[in-house]
Amino acid sequence: MAGSVHLIDRRLNGGNKSATNRQRFIRRYKEQLKRAVGDLVDKRSITDIDGGGEVNLPARDISEPSFRHGPGGNRETVHPGNREFSPGDTIQRPQGGEGGGGGEPGEGESTDAFVFTLSREEFLSIFFDDLELPNLVRNYLGAVQQRKMVRAGYVVEGSPTNLSVPRTMTRSLGRRMALSAPIRRELEAAGHALAEAQARGAPADELARLEAVVADIEARLMRVPFLDDLDLRYRHRVFVPQPVARAVMFCLMDVSASMDERKKDVAKRFFTLLYLFLSRKYEKVEIVFVRHTDNAEEVDEATFFHDPKSGGTVVLSALELMHQIQAERFPVGQWNIYAAQASDGDAFGSDAGKSARFLGEKIIPACRYFAYVEVPDGKDARQSSLWVEYDTLTSTAPNFAMRRVCERDEIYPVFHELFKKEAT
């Protein structure tokens, strides 16, 4: 009876043992989930697009079949709680197959939809599943800018700070054992000889000689150094080029009078998606908001989206400002630069032409990707002057893309198209 029970605290083991199984589930129903997530995004407002979500799956799709008895045939069931029935009483057969008086109520497929919540990560990963960052030529493949020290084993030379004590001592121990083993054997033999001589009462001079031999061998044993230069081992580190793991995203938007709230909303959705997408791919993503009317300014997010401002339209001013900011704060080698421009395409006079030229010469070479989204007044609006000018760039610059978007729900398909994985 004595002794206590084996009591174990498993709380620290952490939950989420089912994470794998959950992943499997999501993997299996990816197609259905993708559709559900797409629907969800259409319905959401911009601010909470970044979060988990509740999705529905038809229960029929995920059922696990087995051989079961269906309705029909003859059977008797037993139930508790009889109050008024007597043998021979008849009851109306309940409608809708099972349930009520017959069958096993509460079991089987009573639900038509399987609802469950996706975490933020799962949501985003399904959402962006088959999207890829364009031109994923990571920066280091060009000129190496960022390098990282990584361990690369041990070397025999190095600075004292890098001395690896365990390694050194292991070698020291091994060397000492190897060097002293024969000496010890000699010592043992000499010791035996001495003991034997003492036992048979040998003459004093022989004893003295044997003692001298032992002392000599002991001295030799002491001469094996504790630490030798040969033993020293140093941790080795090498530089390895590191892909740049940070990105900056420029949001350029025309806020002149012709960009009404609807157009801004569409633009904002596009920017949001781009931001979410980049933040999944890079450790750190900075955003620079540049708005422009007839002159450009850098603003914060709230101002960018909500502060009304009116005036004319000079696209070039925004491009120039972006170029300036980029040159000052985000050197090409250290940042992955992305830019998205949204405008309704109104540009006057030579502005469109100049902008296109500036874009082609100065900005696009520095960018990983530049996306231009035009929000026209309506689906059948004619092509704007900016569109026409920008269009000339598409053939020469592979990292430039442009699309027209009229309605909110077109955003995702357009985004998808812009960033889709290239078929291999």
Partner: protein, 505 residues
């Protein structure tokens, strides 16, 4: 201290919060009390987990280690969803039939709950696992954890080698047939080489002794025909363990796929006794937590507050709702099992004339021995058929409803009256009979010499059909495992072919 109060046991510390020391202390007292009643258990191991871990454990049907599969993920999500919404509470405990017997305590529970769970799981279920003949026969409590570790590793290695998708396909198909991966009877041990040799030499000797050259001269006409007919039927006897048949005879499975079939079959077999003893197992465990804690209360170890809290939880567990009440979900195995266990004790201790008439062999007997015998030698079906008393039928107000397809209405078949007792009892026992509730589907033919197709026979029982759409799906899974055409013949009571469905590879 006044002389009137007789304190026999040390009063255990009270209070809602548990600590490891407290659990230890309670466990020791519960153990001592269980020893008074002579409960024979595996050694106990108690693990404290969080509610999230409890959900994890749920997902893998209570197994601490499982191979990865999406259906467990689905189960997890379903439970988590229900739990979050408050539609479903978590079970207070999960207990694993292993040696040592592992019981999980949830962190959120109060001290009273932990004590209840220890009594229920670590002594109730545990002794049932150790004693009941089905568990003794079918589950190797010592080996199960090791086997699960092996299974998990094997499946994951397969995934690495053959791809998650390929493994998932096999598992999906096996899961569809999981309930048909069970042996209901022991297979004879295969003969060892020496036994085989001994048998052969014995037989040779016999032939030698019986040898008569005259037989050689007997004409052999007609024997060719008979031989051909004999050869064509394989297996010689129908095989009800479909997964076993696939594992042994499927023409196309790769060795690793065969092993996965085997793993699913083994896991299914491990759970086989649990499905057959739901009422008994839960009834036994509930009976013992009730008895043990009450005994401790009588000894003065527990306070009134503890008991009131305990009784409230206990009552919730053993509530049986009537068929017309909200939330009715069929017979509650806890309620029925608990009531029957208590009733057996009552029949032994204070039998009425009715009990003496119905249960002459146990009325007035030693309740501990009678209960122990019942626990060891029955499963739900036989337990109910043997021990359900008229008194309980009256208490539960049981009645039976006949649902016959020839009639447009349901008919009350029998109720809790003198004429009905036996029939109600028989029908309730049938309700827990796996052989009746599960469609009878067996492998009858493997056309080895022709198109390698597999023929299954569904013996239609009382005209009850299969769920057609699902049966078709299961056939597809079967084809995936078999690799050739699979045919499911539905046969009526006279053995005539009613209809069949076929799925080609």
């Amino acid at each position: 201290m006044s002389a009137g109060i007789q304190v026999r046991g040390k009063r255990l510390p009270q209070g809602p919060d548990w600590t490891f020391e407290l659990i230890d202390e309670y466990e020791r007292e519960i153990r001592a009390t269980a020893a008074e009643f002579g409960l024979d258990t595996y050694p106990n191991q108690i693990e404290v987990i969080t509610s999230e871990q409890m959900l994890d454990a749920y997902a893998s049907v209570g197994l601490p280690i499982g191979y990865p599969h999406w259906s467990f993920g689905k189960e997890f999500i379903r439970n988590e969803q229900a739990y979050r919404k408050g539609a479903q509470g978590l079970a207070y405990e999960i207990v694993i039939n292993s040696n040592p017997c592992i019981a999980y305590l949830m962190e959120e529970n109060s001290m009273m709950m932990q004590a209840l769970v220890v009594a229920h799981a670590s002594y109730g279920h545990n002794s049932f696992f150790k004693g009941n003949y089905l568990f003794r026969q079918w589950t190797a409590a010592d080996a199960i954890l090791d086997y699960l570790v092996f299974a998990r590793r094997y499946v994951m290695e397969c995934e690495e080698r053959h791809g998650i998708g390929a493994v998932e396909e096999v598992l999906d198909s096996c899961h569809a047939l999981m309930s048909y991966g069970v042996d209901r009877y022991r297979r004879p041990q295969p003969l060892s080489a020496r036994e085989e040799e001994a048998r052969m030499s014995e037989r040779n000797e016999y032939i030698q002794r019986q040898f008569n050259d005259l037989w050689r001269t007997v004409p052999t006409s007609g024997s060719g025909k008979a031989g051909a007919r004999k050869r064509s039927v394989f297996p010689a006897e129908p095989e009800e363990n479909i997964l076993y048949f696939i594992e042994k005879h499927s023409p196309k499975l790769a060795p690793w796929q065969r092993e996965i079939v085997r793993i699913v079959r083994k896991v299914s077999q491990y759970f086989y006794p649990q499905g057959l003893t739901k009422v008994m197992n839960e009834g036994w465990a509930t009976f013992w937590h009730y008895t043990l804690l009450n005994r401790m209360y009588d000894k003065g170890q527990l306070e009134d507050g503890f008991m009131i809290e305990f009784l409230q939880v206990h009552t919730n567990v053993v509530t049986q709702r009537g068929f017309d009440e909200r939330g009715y979900g069929g017979i509650n195995p806890y309620a029925l099992g608990f009531a029957m266990m208590r009733d057996i004790r009552r029949i032994c201790e204070t039998p009425t004339d009715e009990d003496r008439h119905w249960f002459p062999d146990i009325a007035g007997g030693d309740w501990l021995k009678v209960l122990d015998f019942a626990m060891r030698n029955f499963k739900d079906e036989s337990f109910i058929a043997q021990y359900l008393s008229p008194k309980l039928i009256r208490e539960f107000r049981l009645f039976t409803v006949a649902d016959h397809e020839s009639k447009s209405y349901l008919e009350i078949d029998s109720i809790h009256n003198e004429e009905g007792y036996r029939r109600v009892r028989r029908l309730l026992a049938q309700h827990f009979n796996r052989d009746v509730s599960m469609p009878d589907v067996q492998v009858v033919r493997y056309e080895r010499d022709t198109d390698r197709s597999l023929v299954l026979r569904h013996q239609i029982h009382r005209n009850r059909p299969l769920v057609s759409s699902e049966a078709t799906e299961v056939l597809k899974h079967l084809v995936r495992l078999w690799g050739f055409t699979v045919r499911l013949e539905a046969v009526d009571a006279e053995g005539r072919l009613d209809h069949y469905r076929e799925c080609t590879a």
